[in-house]
Every structure is written in structure tokens, then in C-alpha cells.
């Protein structure tokens, strides 16, 4: 076994997202394990890589709970390896990958495939398995076998189980295994043929609309089902003001519900569609400014528990086409932090620990995984950020196999300078 160099991080603002606090301390990492967190740790002899973090932010490695790695089946768009590299470039050390691959992650074998691949890649990759076989919404997957094999949650992401009875049984059955159901809420008849948010801009541009009702009907249904079944549900990529309101009320009632939002739904509103840029074609659609404001308020008030990228890689040929023909999705691993930081901290005055909680302990708690904190005796997963650096995002910047980023052309602040993942220095950009 090759011994890793020991690492000493000196003088950084170390964030404790759980406590929403920060303090200037040093961190010493020995053989990949956090050995010491203290003030003024000396360099213990040679062979130690010293990172001068004065003026930099030291955070637990980020957790992105909604990522499409396209592996197996669409390896020309992304793989577990390439996705993990893009993740650590974005300061992410844990990703949960969605099951809409080919074949889908709906079998013990498929879960094991991801688990095995994840050993040798730059960050932790945790599979989310399908709720229904083939994600077809007709019969329940072997949720017991899948959870034993290592699944951290269940989802039919990209699809939505239309059959309420089946959804109810999925919820009831999931309780046995204690794993969250990650729900993509979309009434498929309501959203049929839709391309963008139904509103002023869909009308002006002649693009078929997707009503807020498409999301809200399913959120309402699933809150009712969760209340009755007492399952743990998580609404992913929330896009509507109505969703924020309903989930806020459900939480007050004591229903076991959490939710996340993407940086692109926080950053943009549907006025960006006037250029017909297909990188803004996403699902759920980028909605109106009122919805966006409600999402920001939801983050501030704590109704929204996490920010997740919904990293959705697509080939140029799938995006370089007419708006109608283009696929839905934007990549997001590499801009998860900078986009969220620029919007929530710089424009909306949230504190850095509050933001970091949304991409560390927030999602870790939802998935019930050991991640999102810096702890003595644990494998080092640490991200070091220069929060003053600012740059205009270019297509060439991305290392993901796909380049379909909605953030191309935007000025974003916050640069990841080091990512220590699985105890090793996995990314350096100083």
C-alpha cells in the first residue's frame, strides 16, 4: 500500500455547518485520517504537505444528493469515474447517483456495480436505487435486497409513480428499511408535451408550458400518503412556491418530509428563456421570479433542507438542436458551490456556515450517512475554498464529459482550491 503524504491545513476559517459556526484552527491529517483539530499545530517533521489556508475557507467535503452519472448505459455522457472527478473539482466528496441508467439501478447486481466502481474513483459514490422495477411505476423493487447491497435511498427520478395505490405501498414498505424515498414530483399528463414553465414567457415564445400544478398535485398527494404511511419522504428539485408552502405546513404537522432545491432554480427565472438557449431546458422547468423568490425564502426559513445539483449530462448533439428536440437537463457538479454561494451568500446575505450546511450536514442527515463534517478519527473529506475569487464561467472550464451547463456566461464567485477526498488530495487549483 502506498502511504499517503500527511497533510496539515494551517490557518483557515474552519466551518462547522452543524453548529453554524466557524473558527480559525489547523487540521492535521495522518494517513488519510483526521488526526488533530487544534490551534497552531506544528509541522511534525518532513513528509507533510502543508497547506497555507490563511484567508481561505475550510469546509467539510460537500455532499451532492442528486446526481446523474449515466453509468451504466450512457458512458459517452458521463461515467462514475468522470463524474467523480467533476465532483471533486466542485468540492464534492460524496455523491448520491440516480438510478435512471441503462439498465436502471433496480437490482442487487446494479447496486453492487456502482458500489464496486466507487472504490477506485475520486470521491464516494452512493447509489440511489429505483422504487419500481425498471422505473416503470408498476411493481415494487426488491427494496430489502437493494438496501442491503448499499442503496442509500429509493427514487424513480425522472419519472413519477402515477399509481397512487402503488406509491402508498412503496411508502409503507420503505419504512422497514429506514431509507428515504426521493421523489421527482410530476403529473405526467399535466406536463405532457411541456417544455418550459407555463407563464408569461411560454406564451411569448410559443413554447409549450408545464403548469406548476404538475408538481404541486403530486406533492400534495405524496404528503397525504406520507402522513398516512408515516414513511420518510424527500421531495427533490423543488421548483414551485406552492411546493414550499405545502412542505412547510407538512413539516409543522410533524410529517417526516424533507426537500432540496437546485442552484439553477435558485439562480434563474424563466425570463432567461428568451434566447432559446437549450441549457435552460430542465425538468422541473425554471419557473417564474415569484417561484424563485419563494424558493430562496424556503432556504432561508429552513423549509428547504439541502441544495443538490441534479447534474444531468447530455451530449452536444442532444442540446445543439431545436428547443423542442433538445433533452432536459444541465450539468451542475462543478458549479454547485459557486452558484449557490453567489446567489445565497452574496445576493441574499445568507452566512457561509448556513449555506455550507445545505451542501454538507443537510443532505447527509437526509440520507442518514456519515458525511458532511470534519471529525477526529474519521477519513478526511475536506474542501478548501477561496470565497473571494470570481470568474466568468466558460464551456472550456468543465471537465465533466458533457458541457451542457446553464451557468456558461455567468459571473460566479467562490473557487475550490483544494479538495481532500477519501483522505487524499484529489484536486488542487491554487
Amino acid at each position: 500500500m502506498v502511504k499517503e503524504k500527511n497533510i496539515l491545513i494551517k490557518g483557515g476559517r474552519v466551518i462547522d455547518p452543524e453548529k453554524r459556526k466557524e473558527s480559525v484552527v489547523d487540521i492535521f491529517i495522518k494517513d488519510g485520517i483526521v488526526e488533530k483539530i487544534d490551534k497552531n499545530i506544528g509541522t511534525a517533521g518532513g513528509g507533510t504537505e502543508v497547506i497555507d489556508a490563511a484567508g481561505l475557507v475550510v469546509s467539510p467535503g460537500f455532499v451532492d444528493m442528486h446526481v446523474h452519472l449515466r453509468d451504466p448505459g450512457f458512458e459517452d455522457e458521463e461515467t462514475v469515474e468522470s463524474g467523480a472527478l467533476a465532483a471533486v473539482k466542485g468540492g464534492i466528496t460524496t455523491v448520491a447517483c440516480m438510478p435512471n441508467t441503462n439498465p436502471p439501478i433496480d437490482s442487487e447486481h446494479a447496486v453492487k456495480y456502482i458500489m464496486e466502481k466507487s472504490h477506485d474513483v475520486a470521491c464516494r459514490v452512493l447509489p440511489v436505487a429505483a422504487m419500481t422495477k425498471g422505473q416503470k411505476g408498476r411493481s415494487i423493487t426488491e427494496m430489502g435486497l437493494l438496501s442491503q447491497a448499499g442503496a442509500v435511498g429509493f427514487s424513480d427520478d425522472g419519472k413519477c409513480v402515477a399509481d397512487a395505490r402503488l406509491m402508498y405501498e412503496v411508502m409503507r414498505y420503505s419504512i422497514q428499511f429506514g431509507l428515504p424515498l426521493i421523489l421527482h414530483e410530476e403529473d405526467l399528463r399535466m406536463s405532457e408535451c411541456g417544455l418550459v414553465h407555463e407563464g408569461k414567457y411560454s406564451t411569448i415564445l410559443g413554447l409549450e408550458g408545464i403548469s406548476r400544478l404538475s408538481d404541486d398535485l403530486m406533492i400534495a398527494r405524496d404528503i397525504m400518503l406520507a402522513q398516512r404511511s408515516e414513511a420518510k419522504i424527500h421531495i427533490t428539485h423543488l421548483s414551485t412556491a406552492g411546493g414550499v408552502e405545502m412542505i412547510g405546513k407538512a413539516k409543522k404537522k410533524g410529517i417526516d418530509i424533507t426537500c432540496d432545491v437546485t442552484p439553477h432554480h435558485l439562480f434563474f427565472d424563466d425570463s432567461v428563456l428568451t434566447t432559446f438557449n437549450t441549457n435552460f431546458k430542465v425538468k422541473p422547468p425554471i419557473r417564474s421570479s415569484e417561484d424563485r423568490e419563494a424558493l430562496v425564502e424556503g432556504v432561508k426559513s429552513g423549509v428547504i433542507d439541502a441544495v443538490a445539483s441534479d447534474h444531468a449530462p447530455h451530449l452536444d448533439t442532444e442540446k445543439n438542436t431545436t428547443f423542442k428536440e433538445a433533452e432536459f437537463g444541465t450539468i451542475g457538479l462543478e458549479t454547485l458551490f459557486s452558484a449557490s454561494f453567489t446567489k445565497l451568500c452574496l445576493k441574499e446575505n445568507m452566512s457561509l456556515p448556513e449555506l455550507i450546511a445545505l451542501i454538507t450536514c443537510g443532505p447527509a442527515k437526509i440520507l442518514n450517512i456519515d458525511a458532511g463534517k470534519i471529525e477526529k478519527g474519521k477519513t478526511a473529506n475536506i474542501t478548501i475554498i477561496d470565497n473571494e475569487a470570481e470568474k466568468s464561467i466558460k464551456r472550456e472550464d468543465f471537465i465533466s464529459k458533457s458541457k451542457n451547463s446553464a451557468f456558461i456566461g455567468q459571473m460566479l464567485s467562490g473557487k475550490i482550491v483544494y479538495t481532500i477526498s477519501k483522505g487524499k488530495l484529489a484536486y488542487i487549483n491554487r
Binding site: E198, G206, G209, T317, T322, F323
Partner: protein, 306 residues
């Protein structure tokens, strides 16, 4: 010269552009009335008619316009089924560009395609209809037709009747008519209206506007563009939104009936109205629209290429 290189939508035209197009149309209309209907204005220029969607009048209208200006025109038609993927649109374009054309006239069934193509090429692009988005030359010929009848635009009451949500003509007309200070009412049943139409003046039945409007603009019922069919029946449409003789007679003195064509006889306009003779026939200006269409397109080609 127009303020922009390409004509993609009405929004990007300023008032000067619009005035210029209207005044130039007058002279090109005169050419169309001559014995020899041809001027050498665009000799040596190559116009590419790129139609990814079936069209007879718009394509023919551009073709005649280009020929009367002595340009060479090449027609490229592709049935929607044979070129489905947009990537093929891009490939087709590359081929065309290597043949050194001077302008591309594009029609496509997907909204935003004209703009997409404009981003790929450095020659001017004219949008001849993109999905449900825009059809600017139709709106300009409609405006010219109105000018010929009314002289001025301010305060004219226009009722646009029919399938609003699926209509690129309605979008371009509304945008242009608003710029000219006209007073617009949409007459459309709920299934052809967006979820939130609070920014539009809306009526549900043709009888609400028939006696009061100066211009009754009948939209084509576009079954081919409707993703799902929600309207109950043609009989219901006739009753609440169709133009028949009885309604034509009730229209006020000097008012006109327009339609972008082709008319669905017996749906939005009855046979009787289409074939009406005598004094009432003066109200129906659908054929004038087609005639002026050629002159308007000559003016646009001239202003972009000349």
C-alpha cells in the same frame, strides 16, 4: 436598411424599420402591377428557401418576391418526418453555407429555430414561421393590408379570434399591432389560452366583439399544432367562434375580415362568407392579404439584401 441583419421576430423591429418596410412596399406593389413584373435589384444574389414544414403560400410568395427582384431562388423542402432531429437542421445548414447563399428564409415546426439558425450562420435569416413562436412577414403584410384600408392605425379595434395559444401569427400580429397603437382583444376559448392571461384583453365568444371591431382577424384552427385536442366539436366552434353570413352582416360599416390562410372552410369561416359577392364582399380582404404579401416580402428582401 433595417436596424438588424436578420428578421427573426417583430420585437426586434423598431418603428423606423416598420415605416421603411411599409413605404417600400408601395413601390414594389406598383412593380407587381406592370406588364413586365421584374426589376434587376437583386441580380446575382442567391436566396435560399429552407422549408422544414409544409407551406404553399408563404413559400410561393417568397419565391415570386425573389424572382421579381431578379434573385436566384433555391427551394429546399423537407417533410417534418424525413428531417426530424435538429442536428440534421444544423447539418443541412452547413451544406447550404458551403454553397455560398446570400440569405436564408427558414420555416420550421419548432419554436426558436430561426433564432438558432441565425446563431450558426453569418448571412441574414428571415423567419418564415417557427413553430408557435413568430411569423413576422405575415404580421407585416397584415399591417400593410390594414394601412391600405384604414390609412392609419392608432386606436383601431382588432379582435383576434380562435386558437391563440398555438398561433405564431397571433403572437406576431399582437406584437406589431401593439407597437402601432391598435386596441387588441383576443377571442378564444379557455383551452386556447395560457394558464394566466391577465395581461391580455380576452373575450370568449365572437358575438362579444362582432359589432364593435374594425378588424376581425380570424385565426386558422390549427389541429396540426395542438398537442392534445380539448375543444369539444366543430359544431360548438361554429356556434361560438365561427364567422357566418349573419355575423358578417352585423359587422360595422368599413370593418374588415382577415385570415392568414389557408382557411378551414366551414370551421372558422363558413362557405357562404368565403364566396360572398356584392357589397359585403368588400369586407373580406383575405385575397388582398395574399397580393400584398408578395410586395411586402419584396420590400423586406430589398431592405435586407439591396
Amino acid at each position: 436598411m433595417l436596424s438588424k441583419k436578420s428578421l427573426l421576430d417583430i420585437e426586434s423591429l423598431d418603428l423606423e424599420d416598420i415605416k421603411l418596410i411599409l413605404s417600400n412596399t408601395d413601390s414594389f406593389l406598383e412593380i407587381s402591377k406592370r406588364e413586365v413584373k421584374k426589376v434587376p435589384t437583386l441580380r446575382g444574389k442567391t436566396v435560399f428557401n429552407l422549408f422544414f414544414e409544409v407551406s404553399t403560400r408563404t413559400k410561393t410568395s417568397f419565391e415570386i418576391a425573389a424572382k421579381r427582384l431578379s434573385a436566384d431562388i433555391i427551394n429546399f423542402s423537407a417533410a417534418a418526418s424525413s428531417i426530424r432531429k435538429g442536428e440534421s437542421v444544423v447539418d443541412t445548414l452547413k451544406t447550404i453555407l458551403s454553397m455560398k447563399v446570400d440569405i436564408i428564409i427558414i420555416r420550421h415546426s419548432d419554436s426558436g429555430t430561426a433564432r438558432m439558425i441565425d446563431g450558426f450562420v453569418n448571412v441574414p435569416v428571415i423567419n418564415a414561421g417557427d413553430g408557435k413562436h413568430q411569423h413576422p412577414t405575415q404580421a407585416l403584410l397584415d399591417l400593410y393590408t390594414i394601412k391600405k384600408r384604414f390609412g392609419d392605425f392608432k386606436g383601431l379595434k382588432v379582435a383576434i379570434v380562435g386558437d391563440f395559444i398555438d398561433s405564431r401569427v397571433a403572437r406576431s400580429d399582437i406584437s406589431l399591432f401593439e407597437k402601432m397603437g391598435m386596441d387588441i382583444t383576443i377571442v378564444s376559448p379557455t383551452m386556447f389560452l395560457p394558464e394566466d392571461f391577465s395581461e391580455l384583453k380576452v373575450r370568449y365568444q365572437i358575438d362579444d366583439v362582432i359589432e364593435d371591431c374594425d378588424i376581425l382577424y380570424m385565426l386558422r384552427m390549427q389541429f396540426e399544432r395542438q398537442d392534445r385536442k380539448f375543444y369539444p366539436s366543430i359544431m360548438e366552434y361554429n356556434r361560438f367562434l365561427g364567422l357566418d353570413m349573419e355575423r358578417l352582416k352585423r359587422m360595422k360599416q368599413g370593418s374588415i375580415v382577415m385570415h392568414p390562410g389557408p382557411v378551414n372552410r366551414g370551421i372558422e369561416i363558413s362557405d357562404e362568407v368565403m364566396d360572398v359577392g356584392g357589397k359585403l364582399a368588400e369586407r373580406v380582404v383575405i385575397e388582398e392579404q395574399v397580393t400584398y404579401g408578395v410586395a411586402v416580402r419584396m420590400a423586406i428582401l430589398y431592405l435586407i439584401l439591396g
